[in-house]
C-alpha cells in the first residue's frame, strides 16, 4: 500500500527532454525529411506571405503600436522569415529549442500576446498549405503527408513558445513579489517602548512575513513593550490577511510585547471573527488615537 499525499508536482520543464517531447508530438526524422521537400515552395513564397501578413497586421492600430517605425518592421520581418525557414529545415536540437524559447520570452516581454503569435502562425500555415495544395494538385496524396509533418513541427513550436510565455510571466511575478517584499515597512518609535507600524497596501503572505520579521527586529532593537499595528491603509483584509496579522501579533507576544490593532473597518472586524478571533484574544481599538492610549495602558501594567 503506497500512499502519496500533498504531492507538489515536479516541474515538467526541468531540463527539457527533447526525446520525450518529440515522442509526444509524434515527431521523427522522417517528418523532417518531408518538410524539407516543402523547402522550395516555401522559400519561393515565404516573403510574399510575410508581406501579406504585415499588411493585415499593420492595418490594426493596436497591433501597429508594437512597431517603432519602418526599420523596426523590416527587422521583425527578417526575423520571421528566418523563423519560418527554420520551421521547414532546421535541425531539431537543443539550440533550436533554446532559440524558440528565447523568442517566446521576447514576445512575452514586448507584449506580443499568444493570440497574436498563434494568429500569425496560423496565417502563415494557411497560406502556405493553400499554395502547396495548389502547386501539387496533380498529386494530392503526396502533398498531405508533407503538410501533416509541417503541422507537427508547428505545434511543437507553439507549445515551446507557450511554455516560455508561462515561465517568463512567472518570473515577472516573482520579481515583482521580491520588489514588494523589499519595500521597507516603517517601524516607528512613538516614544520609548512604543512602536507604531502603519501597514499600507496589499498584505499577501509574502509581504506579511517580511513585515513580521521587520517588526520583530524592531522590537528587539527598540526594546519595545507595546506595538500599535494600524491597518487603516490596508487595501483588502480577507481571512488570509487576518491570519497573517494574528501571526504577526502572536510572534510579537512571544517576545513579550503586547500589540494593539487599529483602523479596523466593519468588514475587517468581520473577517477577523471568521478566522476565530475574539476581542479578548486580540486587543483592538477603533482609531489610531485610542489605540495608542490602549497601548499606553498595556505598557503601564
Amino acid at each position: 500500500m503506497l500512499e502519496i499525499i500533498a504531492s507538489s508536482a515536479e516541474d515538467a520543464r526541468d531540463g527539457y527532454d527533447l526525446q520525450k517531447a518529440m515522442k509526444w508530438f509524434d515527431l521523427s526524422p522522417e517528418d523532417r525529411d518531408r518538410t524539407m521537400q516543402l523547402g522550395e515552395i516555401s522559400e519561393s513564397v515565404a516573403e510574399a506571405i510575410i508581406e501579406a501578413f504585415y499588411e493585415h497586421l499593420l492595418s490594426d492600430p493596436v497591433a501597429a503600436q508594437h512597431f517603432h517605425g519602418p526599420d523596426h518592421v523590416e527587422k521583425v520581418k527578417a526575423g520571421q522569415l528566418r523563423y519560418f525557414r527554420e520551421l521547414i529545415s532546421a535541425e531539431l536540437d537543443d539550440d533550436y529549442i533554446a532559440d524558440r524559447r528565447r523568442i517566446g520570452g521576447i514576445h512575452e516581454r514586448t507584449g506580443v500576446t499568444p493570440t497574436l503569435y498563434i494568429g500569425a502562425y496560423a496565417f502563415y500555415l494557411n497560406r502556405l498549405a493553400t499554395i502547396v495544395l495548389d502547386r501539387m494538385k496533380e498529386e494530392p496524396d503526396s502533398a498531405f503527408p508533407l503538410l501533416l509533418s509541417l503541422f507537427k513541427f508547428a505545434h511543437f513550436d507553439m507549445a515551446l513558445a507557450l511554455e516560455t510565455y508561462v515561465d517568463t510571466r512567472e518570473e515577472t511575478i516573482r520579481d515583482r513579489e521580491r520588489e514588494l517584499s523589499e519595500l521597507p515597512t516603517p517601524v516607528l518609535q512613538l516614544r520609548p517602548g512604543l512602536l507604531l507600524i502603519p501597514v499600507v497596501g496589499t498584505l499577501d503572505s509574502f509581504r506579511a512575513r517580511a513585515l513580521t520579521v521587520q517588526l520583530l527586529e524592531g522590537i528587539r532593537a527598540h526594546r519595545a513593550r507595546a506595538v500599535v499595528l494600524d491597518i487603516t491603509g490596508v487595501a483588502a483584509v480577507d481571512s488570509a490577511v487576518a491570519n497573517h496579522l494574528i501571526q504577526t501579533m502572536s510572534a510579537a507576544r512571544l517576545m513579550g510585547v503586547r500589540s494593539v490593532l487599529t483602523g479596523l473597518s466593519a468588514e475587517v472586524a468581520q473577517s477577523l471573527v471568521k478566522v476565530g478571533v475574539t476581542a479578548e484574544k486580540l486587543q483592538t481599538a477603533g482609531d489610531l488615537e485610542s489605540g495608542i492610549e490602549l497601548a499606553d495602558r498595556l505598557m503601564a501594567g
Binding site: 503506497l2 500512499e3 499525499i5 500533498a6 507538489s8 515536479e10 526541468d14 521580491r178 512575513r209
Partner: protein, 139 residues
C-alpha cells in the same frame, strides 16, 4: 530540478534525540552558506528538527539528507527525512494539526509543511516514511 553538488550537502544519521540537534545545526549551516536570510535559516532548522524528531519518536532510527537544489534558475534547499519504521497508518490524520501520539502539540508534520514551500510524504505501513521538503530561496 538539479542537485547543486558544489554547494555541499549532508546526510545525518538519526538514532537518538541528540542527533536532532546536529541535524538542524548542519541544515542551518548549509542554508547560511547558500545565502538564506536569517529568518529562513531558522525556519529550515525548525523544520529539520520536527522531521528528525518524528524519526526518533516513531521509527527509532533513520536519516536526514540535506541537499542544495536548483529549479529553473532558483536555488532551494531540499530536506529528505527517511526511515524504515512502522510507517503512518492514517496519513491524513497525521497531517492535521493537533494529532499526535507523542509529546509535541501534534504539529510535527503539519507544522513542517507550513514552514516549507514544497512538501511530500510517501509512506507504506510496515515499510517506513519518506518526507521530502523544499524551501525555495527568496520566497
Amino acid at each position: 530540478m538539479q542537485v547543486e553538488g558544489a554547494l555541499g550537502g549532508d546526510i545525518q544519521a538519526i538514532r537518538r534525540d541528540a542527533d536532532v540537534i546536529s541535524a538542524r545545526q548542519s541544515g542551518r549551516q548549509i542554508a547560511e552558506r547558500m545565502g538564506y536570510s536569517r529568518p529562513d535559516q531558522a525556519l529550515i532548522a525548525t523544520a529539520i528538527s520536527e522531521l528528525a524528531r518524528n524519526i526518533v519518536n516513531y521509527a527509532g532510527k533513520g536519516e536526514i539528507e540535506i541537499t542544495p537544489v536548483r529549479r529553473r534558475g532558483r536555488m532551494g534547499l531540499r530536506i529528505i527525512a527517511r526511515d524504515h519504521g512502522p510507517g503512518i497508518e492514517d496519513l491524513e490524520r497525521a497531517m492535521a494539526d493537533g494529532f499526535s501520539t507523542g509529546n509535541s502539540f501534534g504539529l510535527g508534520l503539519p507544522g513542517a509543511k507550513r514552514i516549507m514551500d514544497d512538501f511530500d510524504v510517501v509512506t507504506a505501513v510496515g515499510e517506513g516514511v519518506v518526507v521530502t521538503a523544499i524551501k525555495w530561496m527568496g520566497r
